[in-house]
Structure formats: C-alpha cells, structure tokens
C-alpha cells in the first residue's frame, strides 16, 4: 500500500500532468471494469495532491519531466503494443486469467518508501491504467524462446503501459522490449517483476524511441532465494529518458546484473537511476554502465547499493564509465554505497573523460582516419558491456545498433 506522505505547508504540486488532454475524462470513464475505475480515481486524487516530480527533488535533479510536458501538448491514449515470440504465458493486462493477482500487484507501492518522485510517477501511471502485459510463468518452466514486446509511440500522445512479470520457482524466461516511435509523446512505463526461488529473468530493453519523445521507465524487481535478474538497456532514443530500476534482493544467494549502454547526442538527456537493496546474505549485485555523450547531450548515472545489516557476505559492484565526445557534452554521475553489514565485498568506480589523444594520434600515424580512429576507440570503450550480454542474438543486435549509431555520429 502506498506510504503516507507528509506534505509541508509550502508544498506546491507540479500539476502539468493534469493538463494532459483527456486525463480527467479518462479517470471518469464509466465503461471500464469497476475496480479499474476505482484505482484510477484513487490514484488520480494522489496525482492532484502530489503532482509530478520536479528537479527540486534530489532524485530528479537533472531530469526535468514537467518542462517537457509544458512544451508539448499531449493527449492520453492506450499504447500501441505487440507481443511476439513465445506467447504461451503472456497476456494483455486486463484480460489476464489471474485478475486478483494483477489487481494486487497494481497497488503494491514501489520500494524506496517515501521517495516522492517514484510514488508520483507510479500514481500517475495507475491513474491511467489501461493496457500492458502480464507474463506469468509457472514453476519449472524453461522458455527456450524469448518473449518480444514492441511499443510504438505516436506523436501527441501520453501513455502508461504496465508490465507485470511473475516467474515461478526454477522457471526461466527471456524478455526483449523494443521501443520505437515518431513525434513527441510520453511513454511512462511501470514494470513489476517477481522472481521466485531459483528462477531467472533475462530482460533486454532496446530504447530507440523518437528523438522528440519523453521516455520514463520505472522497474521494480523482487528476487527470492537463488533467483537471478539480468538486465541490459541500450538507450539510443528519446529527447529525455529516465530508466529507473529498483531491485530488492530478498533471499540469500540471489543475483542481479544491471547493465546498460547510453549513446546520447544532440540535446538528448539520458538518465539511468539504479538502486539495489541487499536485504539478504550471500547475494551478488553488479552494475556496469557505459555512457557515450556527444553534442550538447547530458548523461545521468545515479547508482546506489544499499547493504542492509542482515546482508553479510554481500558481493556488490558498481561501475559506470563515461566518454565525452564534445566539449559541450555533460555527464552527471552519483555513485552511492550505503553499507550496514560488516562482512561484505563492495567496490564501485565511475570515470568520465574524453577520447585519449595519444591513442588517437597513434592510430592516425598508422594511416587510420580520424573518424575510423574515433570509432575504434568508442567501440573499445563499450566492448566489455556488449561482451556481457549473454544472449548471442541480442549481442549481435546491439552491436549492429551501435555500429549504426557510430556511422551517423562520427563524421570527422
């Protein structure tokens, strides 16, 4: 249940979301199932009270969502979504067999209690609950083929697709999301993943949204004993994007790998905000990110590893490297380790710098052009994270996307 939020007297909610055309009408829609109507109404009240996160909130310091909404007039709609690949256990949100489970999940408050910004986007998404996908994999099910979920954004719209993923004991699933679209729109996705004992979820996200769009993704993952969550996000698209991932390691020997490559150019902003909560002993968490920032783009990496007192023998690792390709490119990095257990192994590191001038000259002295030299250096910079993608098809696909980006970007 949503945490109670105490507001100071001076608090003024940021209400640009309320200006979304059709928002009020949507909440008041009486044709939806009654529980959906009730949820929209309850969440709508909270949105009116709390508004949207603004850069005044520490966690949204660099990523200004209201500014985008003020510049673009959007109307709410359902998202254009396709489900492909192995579809046995996937269904549309409101048509899922287990509606009790779905209803329960929809109202589980995001973790990180009291994190206003997260609750704001969450409540906003709930007020617009309309469609999405439920993936419910029974125990001991090994899915050999991935489930493909495609989202196609359309200019002038705003939507809040929901993904609810439940994977039973010792089951295994691979999910590939692909985001594309045209024009200015807002995709505010919420994903909830529950990984039972010994189960494994591999989750890829290729974010190639329209370069005029706003893309906010809130993912909450719970992992039980011996479970594994492996995720990789390639961020190429959106004008402003925020990929927020919150992982709770609930049982011992659980493992989580959160990787990503953000390739940003022009005036794009790409934000990766990751929190890993070690709430059980003997768990492993690894974050490995590469940011390549060109033009006047802005990259944000906020990574946090929180090791609770009970989480002895934690192996925590957090690494983010950034390469700035232009003097006007910016990178904001905020690594955080909060450790309350005494027997842990935690390391973190962030680096941010320009292309190595000595290496560039060495290559050019061997006849390699400026643009080819830069390309080789950028490829080398991100190679390690591509190497860590466990699915070979995906590895190849990401390499192709990167190649394509580089051939458009590096023009000497």
């Amino acid at each position: 249940m949503s945490a109670v939020i105490k507001l100071s007297n001076r608090y003024r909610p940021e209400t640009s979301a309320l200006a979304l055309a059709g928002w009020e009408a949507f909440i008041a829609d009486t044709t939806a199932p009654s529980w959906v109507q009730a949820l929209r109404k309850r969440s709508g009240e909270k949105v009116r009270m709390m508004g949207l996160p603004t850069p005044k909130l520490e966690r949204f310091k660099y990523t200004n969502i209201p500014a985008y909404l003020k510049m673009n007039s959007l109307a709410f709609s359902r998202v254009d979504m396709t489900i492909g690949g192995h579809k046995d256990y996937a269904s549309d949100l409101l048509m899922s067999f287990d509606q009790d489970f779905v209803q329960e999940m929809l109202e589980v408050a995001p973790a990180g209690e009291g994190k206003y910004g997260d609750l704001m986007l969450w409540d906003f998404a709930n007020s617009l609950i309309a469609n999405g996908v439920v993936i419910d994999v029974p125990q001991n099910t090994m899915m050999d083929m991935p489930i493909n979920i495609g989202y196609e954004g359309e200019g002038g719209h705003a939507y809040a697709p929901r993904q609810i993923i439940r994977v039973g004991n010792k089951a295994q699933v691979t999910i590939i999301e692909h985001h594309t679209g045209g024009g200015a729109y807002w995709h505010n996705g919420v994903t909830q993943i529950h990984i039972a004992k010994g189960a494994k979820v591999i989750h890829y996200r290729l974010q190639e949204s329209s370069h005029e769009s706003l893309h906010t993704q809130n993912t909450h993952v719970e992992i039980e004993q011996g479970g594994t969550y492996e995720t990789f996000t390639l961020t190429l698209g959106a004008k402003t994007s925020r990929n927020q991932i919150h992982v709770d390691l609930l049982g011992s020997n659980a493992e989580v790998f959160v990787n990503g490559i953000n390739l940003l150019k022009n005036k794009q902003l790409g934000d990766a905000t990751i929190t890993v909560e070690h709430k059980a002993p003997h768990c492993v968490s690894k974050q490995n990110y590469r940011n390549v920032v060109a033009g006047q783009a802005v990259g944000v990496f906020q990574g946090k590893v929180h090791v609770h007192q009970i989480a002895q023998k934690t192996d925590g690792y957090q690494f983010a490297k950034s390469l700035l390709l232009s003097p006007l490119a910016t990178m904001n990095t905020k690594p955080e380790l909060e450790i309350y257990a005494d027997d842990v192994k935690c390391s973190h590191g962030t680096t941010s710098g320009q292309m190595d001038a000595d290496a560039l000259f060495y290559m050019r002295a061997r006849g390699i052009s400026q643009s080819d030299s830069e390309r080789l250096l950028i490829e080398a910079f991100i190679a390690e994270v591509i190497e860590e993608i466990s699915n070979d098809d995906m590895k190849e696909r990401v390499a192709l996307c990167v190649n394509d980006w580089l051939s458009k970007q590096v023009v000497a």
């Binding site: 290496a359 006849g367 390699i368 400026q370 250096l377 190679a383």
Partner: protein, 250 residues
Amino acid sequence: MIEIKNLSAEIDGNEILKGLSLSIGDGEVHAIMGPNGAGKSTLSYVLSGRDGYEVTGGTAELDGENILEMEPDERAAAGVFLAFQYPVEIPGVQMTTFLKTAINSVRKARGEAELDALGFLKLMKKTCKELGISEDMMKRAVNVGFSGGEKKRNEVLQMAMLEPKFAVLDETDSGLDIDALKIVADGVNALRAKNRSFLVITHYQRLLDYIKPDYVHVLAGGKIVKSGGPELALELEEKGYAEFSKNEAA
C-alpha cells in the same frame, strides 16, 4: 627522398626546432644523435603531424610533396612512418583489428586493393614469423601488457606491414637488452630497400653497430650542428655531447 629545409617548430610557444635542414636520399639510412632534450622526438612528431607541435617555418618534402600540410593519416598513406619512442597502449582495440584497419586505410589511400581477411592473415603471420613475434600477441589489445621489447618489435612489425617510403625510428633501442636489440635491428635491416629511407634517432652509438647508417648528424639546440659518416657516432661515443651543449648555451 626526403628534403627538410629550415624547419622551425614550437610547443606551447617555446621554439624547439630552430631552422633544421636535412636531406635523405632514397635507400639511405641517416642517424640523428643528440643530448636529451635536444628536440629529437619533437622532430619525429613534427614530421608525423602530432597536434600541439606548431610549424613556424620551413618545409619538409617527401618526393617533392610538402608533408607538413597533410593530416597524420595522409602522411602515413604518403609513406611516412614513425616508430614511437613510447608506443601507445590502446585498451580494448585488438592488434589484428588495428593492423587490418591501418593496412587497408593505407592501401585504399594509395589506390591499392584492400586485403581480405585471408590475405591479411597471411601477411600478418609471415611478418610475425620474420620478426619472432608470437601470434598470440596479435590477439591482445594494442601494446597492452607488452614488454618493452615486445612494444618495439610491434613497431617494426607495423613498419614492415605498412611499407613506408620514409621511416623515422625514435630511440627504438631504448629499454632493450642486447638480444631484443638484435632482433629489432635485424627487422629494420631486412626492410632496407632502394626506395626506402630511414632516419634513426638514438642517444647511444650502440644501435648503430647493428643498423649501419650512411650518415650521422648531431642535433643540438634545435639544429643539425654537425654531420659526418659512421665514424662520427664513434667519436660522439667517446667524447659525449658536452661540446654541443656548450654551443647551445652560448
């Protein structure tokens, strides 16, 4: 042939080369010797086009073309090769990728057909063998984790594969023991050819026992202050550079 006339260059507003002239005929090997800080490496960087080295006067022509106006990669294509005093480590870029890109860039610019994967591998294996370089090294990142000797042999390997008209070797002997020095020198000697000239930069005479120069020059205070035959190197070995350092101070 290479013709350097009255070359002046500065770094950060400090004049390092002060009107240097040097002419190297086809097939000739010239050695440049000089005290530390004389400007030997500066000359090699100016000839290869490194950023930050500003040419303030003079010319450097390779077969009648002024190379000073070219980009570094254009110079490489035109036939200039610099064996670095300190070869650069490039983590994440594999030797084979690097070599193949370099060779095909140069071949393309020279109007030659690019090598396919097989043709490239053959050439690489052959050259590795000739230079006593293990092929395992080619699977590693450029110069990363290479020993001093391996780095220098790697420079000669690149030189052999890129087939330059004019090669500058900057202190290729530094940091090498005598066995490594012999291998490197043999590699260089094997590349001596009628249409290829060498400028061998060294602080010590030792290297010149193995790579026999046609001419020896002394660089001090940003200029060639003395030129002669191979015997000049021996003379310098005996007397040191004190004489020229005095000139510089004067």
